[in-house]
């Protein structure tokens, strides 16, 4: 971490002249990979299968072009950091293997079978802040509604804990919102066709 800080300090003038506004430290690529791995484990997919077609409108963000975007720069510099500093000590690596993260992932994976029919029926949808919600209670049989409400509450509790825990486990509690946004994209991009999600404006969209 210290190396990364020093390096970033050295790189600071460069950032300023490049008018970069995004947080230098957040390892976007590593986070996306880590998020995909966890999400696929929860969804019950083997990592590497169904390498994701990112939907046209990812939740919480506007579609971004690659050329000249700050994020691209960030990726370049992250890559540079990785080249200079062994990955194990660089900020670009993300620790996602604390007992809490493993327990939360396992808990969500265990819940997935119960949630899946409600994703498929559109009763439950993915929100743009990386959570889920009952978007159409009418699609749930009455005797199952409290159970669905409980599933959604439990899942959201796990997800909120997961985002916070990843940020804290990596010594950057302030990363939580970026990790949340990363996961929000990942939940949608790894979801099955037909499931519902909220686009950046909060409208419900069915994944095709």
């Amino acid at each position: 971490m210290k190396h990364a800080t020093t390096l970033s300090a050295l790189l600071m003038p460069l950032w300023l002249t490049a008018c970069v506004t995004i947080n230098v430290y957040f390892p976007a690529a590593a986070a996306q990979q880590a998020a995909d791995r966890i999400v696929q484990e929860v969804y019950g997919k083997k990592p590497g299968t169904d390498q994701n077609k990112t939907p046209a409108a990812t939740p919480g963000t506007e579609p971004r072009s690659d050329a000249g975007h700050p994020l691209t720069l960030a990726r370049v510099f992250v890559a540079t950091l990785e080249a200079v500093v062994p990955p194990a000590h660089a900020a670009a690596n993300l620790n996602v293997s604390t007992p809490a993260i493993r327990a939360l992932t396992a808990s969500m994976a265990k819940r997935q079978d119960a949630l899946q029919p409600y994703y498929a029926s559109g009763a439950v949808g993915m929100t743009r802040d990386g959570l889920i919600t009952v978007r159409n209670p009418g699609a749930v049989a009455l005797r199952e509604r409290n159970q669905v409400k409980q599933l959604v509450a439990d899942e959201n509790r796990d997800r909120n804990a997961l985002y916070g825990e990843i940020a804290k486990a990596n010594g950057h509690p302030e990363w939580e919102s970026e990790i949340r946004a990363t996961f929000a994209r990942s939940w949608v991009s790894n979801a099955r066709d037909g499931w519902w999600y909220q686009d950046g404006k909060g409208n419900w969209v069915q994944k095709k």
Binding site: A100, A103, R157
Partner: protein, 687 residues
Amino acid sequence: MSRALPASLFAALWLWATAAAAVDTVRLDLAQVAGPGWQAKQVHVGMTLLPDGGLALELGAAEAELPPPLGRQTDLRLSCAHARLDGPWIACPAAEARLRLPGVDQNPLALGFRYRPADKTLTLNLPDTSVAAGRLKLSARLGPSGWSADIHARHLDAARLPKVAKALGLDPGALNLSGRADLDAQLSGSPGGLRRARFDVKLPGFGFLVGDGSNAAEGLNLDVAGQLDRAGTDAWHLDATLHGAAGTLCLSDCWNLPPKPLTVRLTGTAHPGAGTLSLTQVSLNQPDQVQASGRLSLGTKDGKVALHSLHLDLQPSRLGELYRRYLQPLLIGTAGESLDADGQVSGTLDYADAGIQASLTLGRANIDDRKGRFGLYGVGGDLRWSSTGPAHPARLHWNGGHLFQFGLGAATMELSLSPRSVRLSRTANIGILDGALQVDHFQLDHPEDGDTKVEFDGVLEPVSMQAVSHALGWPVMSGKLSGVIPAVTYDHGSLDVGGVLLVRAFDGTITIRGLRLEQLFGLVPTLAADVDIQRLDLDALTRTFSFGSMQGRISGHINGLRMQDWKPVAFDARLGTPANDDSRHRISQKAVENLTSIGGGGLGGALQRQFLSFFKEFSYDRLGLSCHLENGVCRMGGVAPASQGYYIVKGGGLPRIDIVGFQKQVDWNELVARLESAIASSPAVVR
């Protein structure tokens, strides 16, 4: 253009036909006939004189506009094979009508009627008619001043009833029903509409669904009986008793009705036009479980039902049933979502525009979190709270409980409840394990637009480490844990404990600062702290953990400690012989073997082993270990660098021994396994 009254016309025709016996058949055609509230076009009236003096009648209209619920009809026909005079009545006990009636499956209909021309009164009798997939018996009486109807219906298909209601002038909106209905009703009204209804509706396996389905029910066994009276132009007085059992009712939140019926009584006035309902008496009775009564007033705001005012008295009821059946669905997503509760509860609730007042009395209540996080037993007390008014004193006591693995003793809390805060008004003593937490000051503030804040000032009176280690499943330690806690803050599920906790153990001190409990009610609670260790007696320590005897003192720190499931996941620790330590520095052969195995070797070869086995005990100058744990890997160090490694023990005196560690990175789980096997005093591995 004729605007004659049909009754007098009909009577005239009858007299004419019976008087002029030569005429067998009379037929009259009229282009249009009308009366107050109705009109008919292309009307024909025909009658044939029968040999016994009776008449065969036929009345028809190509088109008619009749008062509700008959409405617009085409090809209307009423025929009576045998009508006769019965005193002032013209009677036809067996007639046939071709007309469309809401919900009636049968056309033409068999019916009987009697008509009294003098006061234009008609009585109508439907003997057994197929209606809404069930059977209906109806007798009705229509006169110039009003009407009445007696209805007995069995096995109606509830799904078809909203349409019938709509045709009867009661707009049910986007309502779907399911199940069967038995109905007994007596209705009466004026030509303008309904005035009074007495009803008894039995709905076995009843369900409903409104709009998007947020409000719905299924599988209810309902019996609703009561009376509805028109009390003004837009006022209906309602008095009804409802028995309900089984099934599920959802009004945004969902409840399962008990298998044995609960009774709800409603008395009040509805103003459908204004969209308000005022119930002056509401009661709910679930026998032997829950009793409540009160009053409420509902209105509509932006097209939605809104509560205007409510007064509720909860009579002594069973907390278990109240929680399980009524409250739990409202608590999903909170720490109170999975409780086992029993005991007695009563209270009141008042809601009005001015604010909310509530009171609650608990008696012999037990509350236990099913996830094992907390529990309070033998809870009793009186709580009163007002959203606007002054602070109310409150009292809460319990006989025992637990917070995670830590047992709590009896305690009494004298509280003061203000609109947005709870304050302890007298020092409270809460037993924890074999010690106690003395709470001098406690205040919880929940500002309307901010995070909940907790102020706390207390003293942890000595708890034995024996009890703590037992609770945490650790090896049994001696010593005492105590502390002064000047502040505790709670934010987003995380508890920050200010001040210093002090453990007096092993003849030294361990101080814990910056204690923080994250995800307190989450899946895996996390504990974070900075720990400072001063001059622990190694002899006592190693005996406790059967590590192999060592003598001397040890000091150090464990900074940035994070524990999940009571197991460390990160820290920066350094433990070693304190500077200027003049205690006796000895280390046993077994301890040497164990230390060697932890450091990943340092002794090797047969020579060292023989040397080792020659002495029971060695002398050292300094010993120490450091570990920076991160990501499951411990980066290790010792008291001083050695070539290719670090000294874990730096010898001094005789017999002298040096232990050098070579592994700089150790898998934490492996290290723990090694330690555990060392503690289990299995023969040490000397490599």
